[in-house]
Amino acid sequence: MTELSYLDGNMLDGPLRELFAVDLSTATGRCDHCGTVGPMAGLQVYAHAPGLVGRCPTCVEVMLRLVRAPDRAWLDLRGTTFLQVPMPVQTPR
């Protein structure tokens, strides 16, 4: 069976770095369905599909979908409540 046909969210960095300037695989995300908070690198990513589907490792609901056409990309994050992205320290004025 192909139960175990998914990859880790680590692999999202390449495809997402086409869109964003930071490594979103190291960002912390919250699953909108079950509330689990964890690194996006820990998502279960189904890549043998018309797009990339990232699922919550706890409840297996969809947190992220990325579809890449030759000239466009669609990113659906409705299954992710927030993304916490590490930023360089900003010195207060």
């Binding site: 990859l7 880790d8 390449g14 300037a21 930071v22 490594d23 690198a41 820990g42 043998h48």
Partner: protein, 254 residues
Amino acid sequence: MVAQTPARAPARWRVGRLVERRVETPNAQTLVLELPDWPGHLPGQHVDVRLTAPDGYQAARSYSVAGPAVDGPGGPRIELTVQRVPDGEVSPYLIDVYREGDPVEVRGPLGGWFVWRPQETAPVLLVAGGSGVVPLMAMIRARRAAGSRVPFRLLYSVRTPADVIYADELRRRARDDLGLDVAYVYTREAPDGWRGEPHRIGLADVNNHGWPPDLEPLCYVCGPTGFVETAADLLVGLGHQTRRVKTERFGPTG
């Protein structure tokens, strides 16, 4: 080793060239690529490699970087170890067709999660299934390059002795790199004189060759999806915190 600063720009495709090729096993080769503007990377990171056919058709795959970048006459060089995937599209090209001097497009370094930083102090357990040893070897090499004394243990599952990638170097490092232990699990055929039968990785292997959870080691598991699932479950079952068990699964695309 080239210093790593966090990448804060959209990753672009860089053009690298093959400068050297090493046969590791009958089905795995190491490609040394020269990448003049390589920004450096952390051990465990990967790159995407993209091929383009004359009619514009493209295929891209991810490969782990096998060790620290080194400086060559034409700029930094990185090593990728490629395992042949039967009926694959990219790995057979890289192994059979791609020649010295030929260009290839590389995007990276990628993936800041499955990395080991040489300033870490916790003991490290590396669990490799097949060609999953590649990013873990990068950590072993970086440990030595940085003069780290953090105790490392590698538990490496392979089908047969002939399938061991980096076999000579691992034998040498297990002898010379203080604080590095290397143990094997053979799933199909064990070498002569091996005690026990070939078997898939199990609780006893992880228990005997890993670290007690009390030491709070960092665990890195890399291999095919099913292998990673098994090994990570064993580690968590032994009491290791999920957050300290980092995994990298790879699929059958080639």
